[in-house]
């Protein structure tokens, strides 16, 4: 049941990302609420919960967001790799972990998108791409991470919900 719930949330979040969030421009880029949500969900609920959501969100966002769904899935896939870091318990504060993982996942996401554009005929201005999209997107997403995480904490399993782990 929880997978169905997660899939429905991911579907609607992808629609919101494609239709609403892209209108917001901060530092010249749009925040990626979808990615921040998935990373926060990963930290709060774990990798097993987030992977089906990642699949639904990636395919939906690809279909409605004008980028090939395969590229979006590939760009979101590093989140699965970051899930392993969560299991290692290197960082004990969930909030700091979310911020770090959002930064890393955003960099990877934008680099994959940039790479796919360059590989399919886009201009080979790597420095401009990094300066104009990759780094600003990571910074903007990091700014979005704390409020999303605090909302996500309500999705923690009941036995962990009372724990404060900022």
């Amino acid at each position: 049941m929880r997978y169905w719930t997660g899939a429905v949330i991911a579907f609607f979040l992808a629609i919101v990302q494609a239709s609403s969030v892209e209108q917001f421009k901060i530092l010249g880029v749009s925040p990626n609420l979808l990615l921040v949500f998935l990373v926060a969900w990963l930290v709060v609920r774990g990798l097993d919960d987030v992977l089906p959501m990642l699949f639904v969100a990636g395919v939906t966002f690809g279909l409605v967001g004008l980028q090939p769904p395969g590229v979006i899935l590939l760009a979101l896939l590093p989140i699965a790799g970051f899930g392993v870091l969560r299991e290692l318990h290197v960082v004990h504060s969930d909030l700091i972990l979310v911020v770090l993982l959002v930064f890393g996942a955003s960099l990877m996401y934008e680099i994959v998108i940039l790479g796919s554009i360059m590989a399919t005929g886009g201009v080979l201005e790597v420095a401009t791409g990094l300066r104009a999209t990759v780094v600003p997107a990571a910074i903007v997403n990091v700014g979005l991470a704390p409020p999303v995480y605090f909302v996500m904490r309500f999705a923690k399993p009941a036995q962990r919900r009372g724990q404060l782990s900022f």
Binding site: S30, L47, D48, G65, A80, I113, G122, T133
Partner: protein, 275 residues
């Protein structure tokens, strides 16, 4: 990592590559058309719901610039600038009977199809929009899209029955054969990841200066000649380089397009290479 997690990760990775191949082979086109049909009312509703908030946030982040007034003034400026550019272009074209004939052949009579922008690509590196006209309305791949002020906006790169994707001129994959109106120096205007336009392949000897108009040249047959792209904002010359690097400000307000015109009367041509 559990076996279940590993299985999911492998599945997503394989699905990503399968879907990329499917997109290249246009197998997903019917699915995309249905998805856009089903979700577009929701997207339009959400978009109009959040637009005031987005405008407010964007105004703050744009150092308090009043975006509505700015947009209105830009449109007015674009229209007047285009009229000026067209008048100049006509004056230059009239000087050459051959050029005039060529223009007449390329513009027998302009037929435009007005369309609404229904979606934008939300990745930060691309500049693509979707419009609510598709192959069912006569829109074909390669057709030219202009703003209401008649400045070049982009090209139709993919069509569905009810929708079409427009790759904007600022997209990193866009390249337009262009000419500087005053000096008649030609080059290629390309988009970039920061949304800027750069005109490349302008020879070192070409007399180009800030404020000059850049229009489509018609070379290559993919664009008609004489459509205004923008004005030169900056010129970089170094002795080491073979070409000058010319930065161009586009006239159309590409980030806030709500309505565009598809030039349905122009059929792009693919020139065959000489044997």
């Amino acid at each position: 990592m559990t076996a279940r997690t590993l299985a999911w990760t492998s599945f997503i990775a394989i699905a990503a590559f399968v879907l990329m191949a499917a997109s290249r082979l246009t197998v997903l086109d019917p699915v995309e058309n249905v998805t856009l049909n089903v979700t577009s009312p929701m997207q339009t509703g959400l978009s109009s719901l959040t637009r005031p908030v987005a405008d407010w946030v964007n105004n703050i982040t744009d150092a308090g610039a009043l975006s509505d007034e700015n947009r209105r003034l830009r449109e007015e400026n674009e229209r007047l600038t285009n009229e000026l550019a067209r008048a100049r272009e006509e004056a230059i074209q009239r000087q050459s009977a051959e050029d005039l004939n060529a223009v007449k052949q390329q513009f027998p009579d302009d037929v435009f199809l007005a369309s609404n922008v229904v979606s934008r690509d939300s990745s930060n590196a691309r500049a693509i929009i979707a419009i609510d006209s598709g192959s069912g309305d006569g829109v074909r791949e390669g057709m030219i899209v202009v703003s209401e002020g008649r400045s070049l906006v982009g090209t139709v790169t993919k069509t569905f029955e009810d929708y079409a994707w427009i790759t904007l001129i600022t997209d990193p994959k866009s390249a337009v054969s262009a000419i500087v109106q005053e000096s008649r120096s030609d080059g290629v205007v390309s988009g970039n990841y920061d949304g800027s336009l750069v005109m490349d392949f302008v020879g070192q000897g070409a007399a180009v200066k800030v404020g000059d108009f850049v229009t489509t040249s018609g070379v290559g047959g993919r664009y008609p000649s004489g459509i205004v792209i923008g004005r030169i904002a900056d010129v970089q010359r170094t002795d080491q380089d073979l070409f000058q690097k010319v930065h161009v400000d586009h006239l159309a307000s590409l980030s806030k397009l709500e309505r565009v015109l598809v030039l349905t009367s122009f059929e792009p041509r693919t020139l065959e290479k000489p044997e």
